[in-house]
Symmetry: C2
Subunit: 154 residues, 2 copies
DNA sequence: ATTGCAATGTTATAACATAACATATATTAT
DNA sequence: ATAATATATGTTATGTTATAACATTGCAAT
């Protein structure tokens, strides 16, 4: 599979899904949280907090500050709508929220597009490794950087 | 296996191994680079760049600046002697440098001790996932946070 | 000696993230 | 409806992590 960006309909579905989840779970999807989520998912590449901040400022045409964005990100991460890629200090939308707690990523260094790669077999393997070490997992970061098909062919 | 810290002899061996590798590969293991490596490996927990900087200042009893430490870290990472844990912006020594390009980690949130967990089966599984996605890996971050045996029993 | 190169020193600043407290808005209880 | 409470946002300041840019040093090759 090449790492193409998401279609408009996929984006809409993703946004709608989050709205529904928030509604049914009584989570306050406030205007800012929604704006931040939309900015993140519409960007088909990982986006940085201060880039989000710039966009928020433009949208609302008024000053906004880092805590506003970081708080919204925290909410979105806590509820599984967004992930942080620690290796590049950037944020990405989750395209199957609530399907599982964590997602694993392929990140193309050239075109910056990312893709979730949450195999069950990979998850199992990580789980077995933890068990083998008597370790209780609370969260896992798996970020695979390299080149996607398109970029490695160029 | 519980996540006990390294013994003095293990530390010495680790330092000696790096010296040998540098000698045989004509890598300039300068005084600062050596100091930084020793600080990192002797700390049995992941250590932050500015903590290293403090220690360097104390050791040499003169002002030092962030670039000094970051350059040494870069050298050590490039040569596989040290790893960065992106999820906690910290650095750890590698206890089997050159054995493989990358290491995977278990990080205890409670006691902060870490452990490498570089199963071949895990590596294979990650590799297969990449192949399945037509993705060419250049580097992988796998950081499993949670609780070690000792800490989960307390 | 002069040049070239690798490493380090130094100053400044960029990039990423949070503390602390004030204000506003929404929910709930009375 | 009003007050009390909790939740969310605004605002200022600062903390933390990392690098750019340029000067200086030490050493080796010609
Ligand atoms: Zn996801
Ligand atoms: Zn690509
Ligand atoms: Zn290692
Ligand atoms: Zn522990």
């Amino acid at each position: 599979m090449s790492m193409k960006s998401k279609s408009t309909s996929e984006l809409k579905a993703s946004i709608h899904r989050v709205e529904e989840i928030c509604k049914s779970n009584k989570l306050g999807l406030t205007e800012i949280r929604k704006q931040v989520f939309e900015i993140i998912v519409k960007n088909n590449k990982p986006i940085k907090a201060y880039e989000i901040l710039d966009k928020i400022r433009n949208i609302n045409n008024k000053p906004s500050h880092p805590p506003t964005v970081y708080r919204a990100i925290d909410f979105l991460i806590e509820n599984g709508f967004v992930h942080k890629l620690n290796s590049i200090n950037s944020f990405v939308g989750c395209f199957h929220p609530k399907a599982h707690k964590e997602c694993y990523f392929l990140i193309c260094k050239k075109c910056n597009i990312y893709q979730e790669c949450c195999d069950d077999s990979l998850k199992d393997r990580i789980s077995k490794t933890a068990i083998h070490n008597n370790f209780v997992i609370s969260n896992t970061t798996l970020e695979i950087e390299g080149h996607c098909l398109d970029c490695s062919q160029k």
